[in-house]
C-alpha cells in the first residue's frame, strides 16, 4: 500500500488530505493553524489523518506541503537579521525603491520599510557594464572589509545583488565565496542565482526576501522533516512553489522565495488537474474563502503565471494600477486576481449613501453576525443565510448553529433601512454586489488577457465558492461549473497531483533574427543540464524527466515580455506576433523582436493517483425542503436540499436546489441542472 499526504497551512486552518494511490480513496482533516509554530499544526493534522485512515507513516510515498509561513514572515517584518551587498554607489537601492507613493492622495502614506536597514547595506567596489564587461575590477580587499563589517553586525543572512550580474555572475560568485569564508554558517543569496533578470531593484528585492526568510524557512522545514522522521515517515518532504509544481525541502531551503505563494498556487493546480482528468484543459479557478476571493486561469492544462508580484501589498477591490505597497518578487507566481470578497466581507453604507461590500472582513473573530460571537456588521455569509441559501442548522455539519434572526437584524438595520429597501432586497443586493466584483476579477484574468471565458469551465471551491459559482458563471456566459468534493479543502488536493519542477532562466537580450537555432540550442543546453542534475538529485528516474522550453520575447523597446513556448526562432516570432495581438489587441510584424531570456521548466513527472469511482444510482430523496430566495424566481421558493455524500454517480436534478456538505453549500439557480459525475464532482450546466 502506498499513500500521498498533502498539508496546506492557511491563516486560519491547516488542511490535510491523504490519498490511496491505488484506489484514489481520499481522507480529509482540518485543524486550527498554530501561527506561533506552524509545524505543530502540520504534525497535528498529519497525525490525525493517518490515525483516521489507519495508515502508518512508513506507508507514505510523498508528503507535499503548501504554507503561508514565508509570506507571513515578510508581512510581519519577521525576517532574519540580513545584510545587503551591492555595487559601490548603489547602497540605497532598498531605501529608494521605485521612488513612488503607494497611495496617490494620502499625504500620510508610508513607503514599505526596507527589509534591511541602511547600516547593514554596503557597496563593494566593482562594476560591470550592461554587456557583462568589467568596467571596474572586483576589489578583493574592499570585499573583505565589507564582509568584516557584516560580521560586526552579526548578520544571519546576506543578499548580494551587483549591477548587471544577470549577464555575468563572476563578481557575485567571488563576493559569495568571500562571504562564505568570512561569515561561516551565514546563509548567502546571490541575485544571479535567485532571479537572474535585469532591473536591479526588482532583482535585489527578490534576493533580499530569499535571504531574509531563508534561516526561518530552513529551520521550519528541518523541524518538520525531523518530526516526520520520528513518526516513521521516510518519504521526501516536498514543497509547493508559487507557480505550481513542487520542489524538495532541500531545494526550498536554498530558494525559499519560490514558495511565497504556495497556498494559492495549490488551489489553481488542483483546479487544473481536475480539468485535465475530465478532458477539460481550459479552466477558470474560483476560490472563495472567508476574507477574499481568488480567480485564476488555466489554459491547455497550464496555469497562467506572472512575475509582476509583490509580497505584502494590500488586497484591494480593483486592479488599481501598479502601486508599490509591498516588496516585489520576480519569481514566477500563479497569476491570480484576488479581491476582498469572502464570506466574512462586510457590507456597509458609505458616505454617499451607497451599499458597498468589502474589502474589510469580519475575519474569524468575531466573524459574521450569525456566528453569534458578538459580530455586529453584516457579511456576505449573513446575507446568504437571510436568503435561505445557508442552513442555520447544518453549517459545518451543525457544529456552529447560525443565528438567523441576528443576521436579519444586522442586514435590516445597517443596510436595508438606510437604503429604503426591505431586508431581502438588501441581502440579495449584498450577494449581487459581491458577485459583480468577482465577475470583474474573472473578466480581468480572462477577457483582459485575451481569453474568452465562455470557452472555459469554472472550477469552484473554497468554503464560500460553491454558493456563488452558479451566479458567477451565469453572468460570465460560462456553460459549465465543476464543484469538486470537499470544496473547502480542495486546495490541499493540489498538493497530491503536482509534479516536481525547477525553473532556470538565462538572460540573452539579442534581436531574435540574429539568433540561430544552434545558438538557441546552446543557450538551452546548460539550463536543461542543470535541470537534469537537480531532478536526479531529487530522485527522479531519467525516464520521468521532461523539459518545457520558453522564450521571453518583446518588441525592441518594450518592457514587458510575453513567454512563447518554442525553441525555433522563426516559429517563435510568428507565435509572438499572434500572442501580442491576443493580449493587447495589436501586433507589429514589421518590427524587430527581442529575445530577452530563455527559460526551461524541468519537470520530474510524478504518477497521478487514481481517481475514486462512485457507484451509479438513483437520485435520493431530498434531506430537507426549505424556502430560498431567488430574484429570477421572484422571491422565496420552496426547494429541495440534498446531502452531497448521499448523491451517487449519475444522479441529476434541476435548480433551484441546494446541496449541502460538511464544509460548503452549493446553490443551483433556476435554469440550471446539476449532475454528479463518476468521480463525485458536481457538474452544473444550463438546463436544456
Amino acid at each position: 500500500m502506498s499513500y500521498r499526504l498533502g498539508i496546506d497551512i492557511g491563516g486560519t486552518f491547516t488542511d490535510a488530505t491523504l490519498v490511496d494511490e491505488a484506489t484514489g480513496e481520499v481522507w480529509i482533516a482540518k485543524v486550527s493553524s498554530t501561527p506561533s509554530d506552524p509545524s505543530v499544526g502540520f504534525l497535528t493534522a498529519a497525525d490525525r489523518i493517518l490515525a483516521e485512515a489507519g495508515v502508518a507513516g512508513a506507508e507514505l510515498r510523498y508528503v507535499s506541503h503548501a504554507t503561508t509561513v514565508a509570506t507571513n514572515a515578510i508581512i510581519e517584518g519577521n525576517v532574519a537579521r540580513t545584510g545587503f551587498v551591492t555595487t559601490d554607489g548603489f547602497r540605497d537601492l532598498l531605501e529608494i525603491q521605485r521612488q513612488v507613493r503607494s497611495a496617490l492622495y494620502d499625504v500620510h502614506f508610508e513607503k514599505p520599510k526596507p527589509l534591511v536597514p541602511r547600516h547593514r547595506c554596503f557597496g563593494v567596489r566593482e562594476r560591470l557594464g550592461p554587456d557583462g564587461s568589467v568596467l571596474r575590477k572586483f576589489d578583493e580587499e574592499h570585499a573583505r572589509e565589507v564582509a568584516a563589517a557584516l560580521r560586526a553586525e552579526n548578520v544571519e543572512a546576506v543578499a548580494v545583488c551587483l549591477l548587471h550580474a544577470y549577464v555575468n555572475d563572476a563578481h557575485e560568485r567571488r563576493m559569495g565565496d568571500i562571504l562564505a569564508e568570512e561569515l561561516p554558517g551565514v546563509d548567502i543569496s546571490l541575485s544571479s542565482s535567485v532571479a537572474p533578470e535585469f532591473r536591479e531593484y526588482l532583482r535585489a528585492s527578490t534576493t533580499v526576501i530569499n535571504a531574509g526568510i531563508q534561516p526561518m524557512v530552513a529551520r521550519y522545514l528541518q523541524g518538520i522533516q525531523e518530526r516526520l522522521g520520528d513518526s516513521g515517515v521516510e518519504a521526501e518532504l516536498l514543497v509547493m512553489k508559487s507557480a505550481g509544481g513542487v520542489y524538495t525541502a532541500e531545494a526550498a531551503k536554498r530558494r525559499p522565495v519560490y514558495m511565497v505563494e504556495s497556498g494559492p498556487a495549490a488551489g489553481v493546480i488542483a483546479a487544473a488537474e481536475l480539468g485535465r482528468s475530465l478532458d477539460q484543459p481550459d479552466v477558470i479557478s474560483f476560490d472563495m474563502g472567508g476574507t477574499t476571493a481568488k480567480v485564476g486561469l488555466v489554459q491547455d492544462g497550464t496555469p497562467t503565471v506572472t512575475k509582476d508580484y509583490q509580497v505584502g501589498s494590500a488586497a484591494h477591490a480593483g486592479v488599481g494600477g501598479f502601486q508599490f505597497s509591498g516588496y516585489p518578487v520576480r519569481t514566477p507566481v500563479v497569476d491570480l486576481v484576488e479581491i476582498g470578497a469572502g464570506g466574512g466581507s462586510i457590507a456597509w453604507i458609505d458616505s454617499g449613501g451607497k451599499l458597498r461590500v468589502g474589502p474589510r472582513s469580519a475575519g474569524a473573530d468575531p466573524g459574521p453576525v450569525c456566528y453569534g460571537r458578538d459580530g455586529i456588521e453584516p457579511t456576505i455569509t449573513d446575507a446568504n443565510l437571510v436568503l435561505g441559501r445557508l442552513s442555520a442548522a447544518n453549517f459545518l455539519g451543525g457544529e456552529i448553529p447560525l443565528d438567523v434572526e441576528g443576521a436579519r437584524a444586522a442586514v435590516e438595520v445597517r443596510c436595508a433601512r438606510p437604503l429604503g429597501l426591505d431586508v431581502l432586497e438588501a441581502a440579495h443586493g449584498i450577494v449581487e454586489i459581491a458577485n459583480a466584483a468577482m465577475g470583474n476579477a474573472l473578466h480581468l484574468v480572462s477577457v483582459q488577457r485575451g481569453y474568452d471565458p465562455r470557452g472555459f469551465v469554472l472550477v469552484a471551491f473554497g468554503g464560500a465558492g460553491p454558493a456563488h459559482a452558479n451566479a458567477l458563471a451565469r453572468d460570465a456566459g460560462i456553460e459549465t461549473v465543476l464543484v469538486p468534493r470537499s470544496p473547502g479543502i480542495f486546495s490541499a488536493t493540489g498538493l497530491l497531483v503536482t509534479d516536481l519542477e525547477h525553473e532556470y532562466t538565462a538572460t540573452v537580450l539579442a534581436p531574435l533574427t540574429r539568433v540561430s537555432t544552434d545558438e538557441l540550442e546552446a543557450a538551452f543546453a546548460p539550463l536543461e543540464e542543470a535541470g537534469r542534475r537537480d531532478l536526479e538529485r531529487d530522485g527522479t528516474a531519467p525516464g520521468d524527466i521532461a523539459f518545457v522550453r520558453q522564450l521571453d520575447l518583446r518588441y525592441v523597446g518594450q518592457s514587458f515580455e510575453l513567454a512563447v513556448a518554442s525553441a525555433d526562432p522563426l516559429e517563435a516570432a510568428s507565435r509572438f506576433h499572434a500572442e501580442h495581438d491576443r493580449a493587447y489587441g495589436f501586433s507589429a510584424p514589421e518590427e524587430a523582436v527581442e529575445l530577452v531570456s530563455v527559460r526551461v521548466r524541468a519537470v520530474g513527472r510524478i504518477a497521478k493517483p487514481a481517481l475514486p469511482i462512485l457507484d451509479e444510482g438513483e437520485l435520493p430523496a431530498p434531506t430537507d425542503r426549505r424556502p430560498v430566495f431567488f430574484a429570477e424566481a421572484g422571491g422565496f421558493v420552496e426547494i429541495a436540499v440534498y446531502d452531497r455524500s448521499a448523491l451517487p454517480a449519475g444522479s441529476r436534478f434541476e435548480g433551484p436546489a441546494i446541496v449541502e456538505e460538511y464544509d460548503s453549500t452549493l446553490v443551483v439557480h433556476p435554469g440550471f441542472e446539476a449532475e454528479t459525475d463518476v468521480h463525485g464532482n458536481l457538474v452544473l450546466r444550463r438546463a436544456s
Binding site: R91, E95, G353, H428, I433, G557, F560
Partner: protein
Amino acid sequence: MSLDPVTFEVIRNALVAATDEMVLSLRRSAYSTNIKTRADFSCAFFDADLRSIAQGFTQPVHLGSMVQQVPRTVTEYGAEYIGPGDAIMTNDPFPSGVHLNDINLVSPVHWRGELVGYVANLAHHVDVGGGAPASIGAFREVFQEGVIIPPVKVVEAGVLVPDVWKLVLAQIRSKHETGGDLRAQVAANATGVRRVGELLDRHGIETVREAMHELVAYTERRTRAALEKLPHGTYEAEGYVDSDGYSDERVRLHARVELRPDGVRFDVTDSEPQRRAPVNSTFAQTYSACAYAVKCLIDPDLPVNEGFYRLLRVDTRLGTIADCEWPAPVVGGWETQTRLVEVIFLALSGALPEGVPAGTKGMMCHAGFGAVDPELGYWCFLETFGGGYGGRFASDGPDAVQAHGQNTENAPVEETERGYPVLVERLELVEDSEGAGRFRGGLGLRKDYFFPRGPVTFTVLADRDREGPWGLFGGLAGHPAEYVLNPDGDPRRLGSKSTVEVQAGDVVSYRTCGGGGYGPPHERDPELVLRDVVEGKVSAERARTVYGVAIDLDERRVDDEETRRLRA
C-alpha cells in the same frame, strides 16, 4: 424609475474596471521607459455630454487636466464628425491643454449606433520635437517646444490615418518609441470601448445612463459630506518658484483658498504675469493643482467625476503664470503647478495642522537628454527624480519619493544602461539633506549620469536649487537641490532650467532637495535621532548641533545626560 442600489454598484465598479483595464493595456504594450516603466499616463471615461464619469489614474496631475482637455477636444473637432472607431489626437496647450509632451487620444463609444460617451487617455511622450531632445528646455515661446497638434483624426473607423501619422512623426526625434507608444494609446482606447460596450450589452443604455447620472450625484453627495467636516474659512499664502531660467528674479505664486460646506473656491489671480520663460502654467494645469489638493483633504476612496469637479471653483487671471496665454512656453508649467500645491497646503496648514505635510520636493525635476548615435539613431531619454517628502503631524516625511501630482517611477539603472549610451555612476540618498524637525523631512536623492560618448544635449528642467522646502511649526527647511556638471572633477553648477552640451567623459549629477521638518527639532524623540545616525542618514555632528541629541555611536545609544544639557 429609480435605479436600484445594487445595479448601481455593479455598473460603478464595471466603469472603474474599464478604465483600469485601459491602464493595464497601455502600460504593457508601450515602448518608452517613461510610459511602460514610469507610468506617466492616465485613462478616463466621459459621457456623451462630456461629463467626467470614471478615471483610471496613475498620475494625479492628470486629475484636472483631462477633464479640461477632453471636452474641449470633442467640442473643437465637432462631435458630429467623430464616428465609431475614430480617435482624435491633440496636445495643443491653448486654450485648455497642458504641455506638448502630453498627447491626448479621445475615442467615441457607440452602442447600436448611438453615442454613449468617450474614452480617453493621455500619455507623456519622451519626445515631441522642438528645441532639445526630450522636448524640455528653457524656451521663449511654445513654438520652440515641439509639434503642436490641434484636435485631428488619427484613427478613422479603426484604421490609422497615414497622412496625419506621418506628419506628426516627422517632427519627432525618437520615431520608433513614440510610434510604438501612440499605437499603445490606440489599443488602450480600443480596450475601453470594448469594455464599456460589454457593459451596455448587459444592462442596456437606459440603465447605464441612469447609473452614470447617479454616479455623478453620488460623488457630489460624498464630496459634500467630506467638505462639511473641514474647517470652513478663507486661508491664503504665497510662495515662489526659485528662478525662470533667464533671470534670477523669483516667480511669485499666490493662492487664496476658501473652504465652504458647499464647495472649495480657489483664487490665484494675484500670481504674477506670465514670462517668456519655462514657468508658465496653463489653466488646466492650475486647475489640476487645486483639484489634487482638495482630493487629498477628503475621502481618498472617493471616485472622482463631474460631481467632484462641480464643487470646485478656480479663479485665475489670463496672462499670469497660473493661466498663461498663447504663445507662452508651457513645458515648465508642471514645475509651477506643483509649487502651487505647496502654496495651497501652506495656506491650509494653520487650519489643518494634521492634514498637510511640511514642504515637500515640490517640483517635477526633469532630466532630458539625447543625441544622434550611429547605431541607435536619434535617441532621447527622460526621467524625473524623487526628493524628500515633508514631515507630518505624527510621522517623518519619507525619503526619496515623488510628491503631489507626480508619482512616476525611477528608470531602472540596468534598463537605462541597456537602452541608452549612458552609465549611472551612483544612486543614493543625500545624507543630512533632511529638514530637521520633531518629525523630520525625507532625504533627497543623488543620481549621477556618466556619458561615455559625446556630444549629448542635456537639459535640466527643475527648481528648488536656491531655497529648500519650508518647515512647518518650528521645523527647518530641507536642504536645497543641486545640479552639477562633473562634481568630482572641475565642478560647475548648472541652472535649474538650462541646456548644455556634454562631452564624452562628462558626468551630470542631480542632488534633489530634502523635505521640510515638522515641529521644533529639539522636540524630536532622541531614539529616532539615534536610528537616523546609526543608519547614516543624519550625521552625529548634525544630531548634536541641530537636534540637540548626543549620540555614542560606538555603543549605538543616546547620551541622555549630555542630551539634556544640549536641549536645556
